[in-house]
Amino acid sequence: MFLANQFAVPHELKPLVLPTKIDGWVITHGASFLGGLSGAFVLIFKRYRTFDIYPSTYLQVAVALMAGTFAGGFLTMIWSTPQTTFLAFAAGFLTSINVNFLPRLLRQQFAKLTGAELPPEIPTDLSLVIKNSEAIESLNNISLFSVAEFSKTEAIRIYLNMSQPVGVINGWMDEALLHYYFPTRIEALRQAHIHRFTQLMEALVDKYLGGTITWRDNVRISGDPVADGDILTSMKTIVASRFHHRLLGFLSDNYRQAYFLPSP
């Protein structure tokens, strides 16, 4: 309103004269709102570029504009530093960029002020296979927080809810399967240059014959016969359970050929 008054007369713009005193509360709330608005512009620009705009993106913007503005303004009451206005701006901005920022910040501040012990947050382990913070955020937005959940989700749902290329997503899902089923063998498998689940499967399979798989008898992967035997047994049970039947159909050409495609 202050700026509106300054520019109210068309074609006769008055020089900008700052009032001698502006209420601190107005400044902090204004700063957090402008932070939220700037964050919203950055968010839409980034998502527009990567074709990653969903209806919920605009809902997030609407929520962040309101929640960020209010929370930023109130939070500055407990931050008695000379940079209060900047902190309010940053709180609004970061809430728009990632709406989970605000609950996390409020939890921390509440625990700090009251000394209350809040239940610990369960950290995501998706970073074990995905080195892309935007992709992890997209998965968090559809309530996927762990490698275990990621590897059990229908591939089509993942494809439609992420902006990364399908090949890249397949690579992540393939690695996620390996991390989920062989968490203690990851290092040994890496030393044998095996990074993906389907890669390991190829090393263990002798032949794919129309609807069946013949496994190798003597496999040498890690150099430890007992460990290799365990890996083979686990792999056989995983494939036999058919829990990841469709996913393996997407990830492996040979598996798809054996189980899904019509015989030539």
Partner: protein
């Protein structure tokens, strides 16, 4: 000869069906986007006396900032919405993913069913009315807060 004729007819019908679906889809998303643009223009005209966008003044900036949300959503609806779906359909076609969902079915039928399934899922995740509505709400909130 008869079998060839039946097959040919099926291919033509298939092609017409796909084309009709694409045209319908194109007009529907464009219609929603233009409806939203229309609502924005009406709002600007309706509020011209109280919150004038022209001649240039403070409220011109407010309008520009607030209209950014519905405008970006409208352009996204018209030009970019189907990019992701087309990308998935293209890869699915090349890798014959349709057989993973519909094995043991003739290829054309399997592909058509998979395409239809994917379109249905896509429409659920990217609801046009929701996208338009939420972008308008975001714009209205920004407008109200900038005016207050």
């Amino acid at each position: 000869m008869e079998a060839l004729l039946t097959r040919g007819t099926a291919i033509v019908f298939d092609w017409i069906e796909q084309l009709t679906e694409q045209i319908k889809d194109f007009y529907y998303k464009s219609f929603v986007a233009y409806l939203m643009f229309g609502a924005c223009v009406l709002a600007v005209i309706g509020l011209q006396s109280d919150v004038p966008i022209w001649p240039l003044n403070y409220y011109s900036i407010v309008w520009t900032l607030a209209l950014f949300f519905p405008a970006s959503a409208g352009f996204y609806l018209i030009f970019n919405l189907r990019v992701r779906l087309n990308e998935i359909l293209d890869i699915a076609h090349r890798n014959q993913f349709h057989f993973v969902y519909y094995p043991g079915v003739p290829e054309k039928q399997s592909e058509r069913r998979f395409t239809s399934f994917l379109r249905q899922r896509f429409a659920e995740y990217f609801n046009l009315i929701e996208l338009a509505g939420f972008s308008l709400i975001a714009g209205i909130i920004a407008f109200c807060l900038l005016c207050s």
